[in-house]
């Protein structure tokens, strides 16, 4: 491994580096999917890997998502560690049966005899001007399925370490890549391991309100936290990283300090990930809460066309509005529709 510390790379580059390092350190690792070979993937996450590791380890498959995941399951049963790519969020749906009925359940069905260390990489979310079916936030389809781990990095550093840890993990991992952050640069340290594949981290400390976010929305949330500071609110920002399992300890500890919470995600609010967080916080932190947990998310609509997506995606203003609505002043009348 040619570990260089403090290298500035894009999130996509960090993923590429993680795959390369995993391929060179563990011969059981295979990388395959649609266009991941010669082309290097439509987002270039697998760029150069076939050249470096050969067709047998990094290869293009026929076009068939169920086929990709189904064969990955068979390979994992036979001792390999497949890392497969779904080209886009909504194009992973043909593989849904293989993921939910087999990948997620085989350990359980066989009382632990069959272990499936498979990683499914899924570029997800919007914000890149993609036409329909290219922008879904599909996380809760997976988080609702017991047996899967679901993680999503928001920074290049996390992209590297989380992917390495996902590949090493004995459980199947759905690895959601926020595609609108693919080109953002940051430093990575390949020698570093995170606090754990299932741990959330506090990205910014603050004492007034906890903003909880992940993936593509994290950057927006951090911007909002900065803007909130100008308005006099010191926001703490938690980056979930792991959506399943949910790191309640880290989130609850923060909310108990601040007494207020806003969850921010791109996905629709109804039955969205924020609903689960709000429920868990009200179950475990009720007496610490000074206001209801609010959610900022996409509308309950199919992901809109590129020229309208800015109206759907949570932005800094919407997050600030939510912070404003956190009942800072008990004597103030309730805003419309909030009773």
């Amino acid at each position: 491994m040619t570990a260089t510390l403090d290298t500035k790379v894009s999130l996509a580059g960090a993923l590429n580096r993680a795959l390369a390092d995993a391929l060179s350190e563990d011969e059981r690792v295979l990388v395959f999917g649609e266009d991941v070979g010669t082309l290097g993937g439509v987002f270039r996450v697998t760029d150069g890997l076939t050249d470096r590791f050969g067709e047998a380890r990094v290869f293009d498959t026929p076009l068939a998502e169920a086929g990709i995941v189904g064969t990955a399951i068979g390979m994992a049963m036979n001792g390999l560690r497949p890392v497969v790519e779904m080209q886009f969020d909504a194009f992973a749906y043909p593989a849904f049966e293989q993921i939910t009925s087999h990948l997620a359940k085989l350990r359980n069905r066989t009382k632990g005899h069959v272990e499936l260390p498979v990683v499914i990489r899924v570029p997800y979310g919007g914000g890149i001007g993609g036409v329909e079916h290219h922008c879904d936030s599909s996380e809760v389809y997976y988080t609702h399925t017991a047996g899967l781990r679901v993680v999503t990095p928001a920074t290049p550093a996390d992209a590297y370490t989380l992917l390495r840890e996902a590949i090493d993990c004995p459980d199947p991992v759905v690895f959601l890549e926020p595609k609108r952050r693919y080109w953002e640069k940051g430093t990575i340290d390949p020698t570093l391991r995170s606090p754990g594949l299932d741990r959330s981290v506090v990205r910014l400390e603050g004492s007034d309100v906890t903003l909880i976010s992940y993936g593509g929305a994290l950057g927006t949330t951090l911007e909002a936290a900065e803007a909130a500071a100008d308005e006099g609110y010191q926001a703490e920002v938690v980056d979930l990283r792991s959506l399943a399992p949910f790191d309640l300890d880290t989130v609850a500890a923060s909310v108990r300090r601040t007494g207020r919470a806003v969850v921010v995600h791109e996905a629709s609010r109804f039955c969205g990930y924020g609903a689960e967080i709000a429920a868990q916080l009200s179950e475990t932190c009720f007496h610490y809460l000074e206001a209801p947990v609010l959610r900022v998310g996409g509308f309950d609509i199919p992901y809109p066309a590129p020229n309208l997506e800015r109206h759907h995606l949570p932005d800094v203003d919407r997050i600030l509005d939510a912070i404003d609505r956190l009942q800072w002043d008990d004597s103030a009348p309730l805003a419309d529709g909030e009773a």
């Binding site: 047998a56 169920a66 068979g74 049966e97 047996g147």
Partner: protein
């Protein structure tokens, strides 16, 4: 490479008529290119089918006694179940469906472990790595892809392992079958697909399932050699499977075998087959019983004596009695296990939930 090498389609075509080696009345049939298994193999096929049928009737009886939640019988399909499994080498893997309990028992898995699923105690009761048998697969056709991936991995690792995947006629309409045939052919994976065409997918007859000349033709479009055999002829199923296994092991890729057979019982004990098929049709197929015909052939040739048959029957009866006895013992299930095999290590939430359930049970 931009195009595949062209091979004449005829190379992949199945025969017009199902290949057979023993006729329904027990006579030898010459079949160029399909060698008759050795006498000793035929005897094993025979005793295997007798044991298989006895297991099957025992399981059906246990269902009636409420000892099994459900049982999909393979009665009438013994030639496929036993013929195919006995053609596997020890290192090969079987990828069965819900219908193939008999095949799994023939592969050497303890019948009581096989029936764990249908008894309702746990989803899969055996360790797949002990007899190289994947868990019985209920979502149709999904096991075809696991078989392909498994076989491909064996090649990547330089191991000589062939996957045999069993599927029904209905399952050939599922998308996963299409994807698996294609992946297997493109990768030249060492896989044998055995379609047991038993005429029905629950109530839906083959005519409503496909317009293909035969299901074996489905291999041709993928560039896969395809074989059509008489699925009630254990010798033919064994010979065809053995050839396909040998071809796969030699690096020549997958084979699709369609075996024409018939499901004598209802889809499961919960089904009523009289709603969609005539008794006369069942009678007709009873005339083509796979066990009677091989027995006739072996007896005529002096290979199976009255005494040998008796010994086979006694052994099958003893196995059934042992199964019955063991199935009549109530199992003790540990609810704590519900939380133990979801992830490699239980998550914090699962530990909490396990404690909740434990407290609840304590109170009662």
């Amino acid at each position: 490479m931009t195009t595949t090498e062209r091979t004449a389609a005829s190379h992949f075509l199945p025969s017009e008529e199902p290949l057979g080696l023993v006729s329904p009345d027990g006579k030898r049939v010459e079949q160029p290119g399909l060698p008759m298994p050795a006498d000793e193999v035929l005897l094993r096929l025979h005793s295997g089918m007798v044991a298989g049928r006895r297991f099957d009737t025992q399981a059906t009886a246990l269902t009636k006694q409420g000892r099994l939640a459900v049982y999909p019988s393979a009665r009438g399909q013994e030639a496929c179940e036993i013929g195919a499994v006995l053609a596997l080498r020890p290192q090969d893997w079987l990828f069965p469906t819900y219908r193939d309990s008999m095949a799994i028992v023939a592969r050497g898995v303890d019948p009581i472990e096989v029936l764990t699923l249908l008894r309702g105690d746990w989803h899969c009761g055996y360790d797949p790595y002990r007899a190289n048998v994947a868990p019985q697969c209920t979502p149709l056709a999904t096991n075809t892809l696991h078989a392909v991936g498994f076989a491909h991995a064996a090649r990547v690792k330089g191991e000589d392992t062939v996957s045999l995947v069993l599927l029904g006629d209905g399952a050939t309409s599922e998308g996963d079958t299409h994807e698996a045939l294609n992946f297997a052919a493109v990768w030249k994976a060492p896989v044998v697909f055995l379609v047991q065409n038993n005429g029905y997918a629950i109530s839906v007859p083959l005519a409503k399932q496909t317009a293909a000349p035969s299901l074996a033709y489905k291999g041709v479009g993928y560039g896969m050699p395809s074989v059509l055999v008489d699925g009630n002829d254990a010798a033919a199923v064994h010979a065809a499977t053995e050839q396909a296994v040998a071809r796969a092991a030699a690096g020549e890729g997958p084979t699709l075998i369609e075996a024409i057979t018939y499901r004598i019982e209802s889809h499961t004990n919960a089904d009523d087959a009289t709603r969609y098929r005539e008794r006369a049709e069942v009678e007709e197929w009873l005339e083509r019983d796979p066990i009677a015909r091989l027995k006739q052939y072996l007896t005529d040739r002096g290979l199976l004596t009255e005494q040998a048959q008796q010994e086979i029957d006694v052994r099958a009866e003893a196995d059934a009695a042992s199964l019955r006895e063991r199935m009549n013992i109530d199992t003790v299930l540990d609810p704590a296990e519900l939380f133990q095999h979801v992830y490699a290590e239980p998550t914090a939430a699962l530990r909490t939930q396990a404690a909740e359930l434990a407290a609840e049970l304590e109170e009662r």
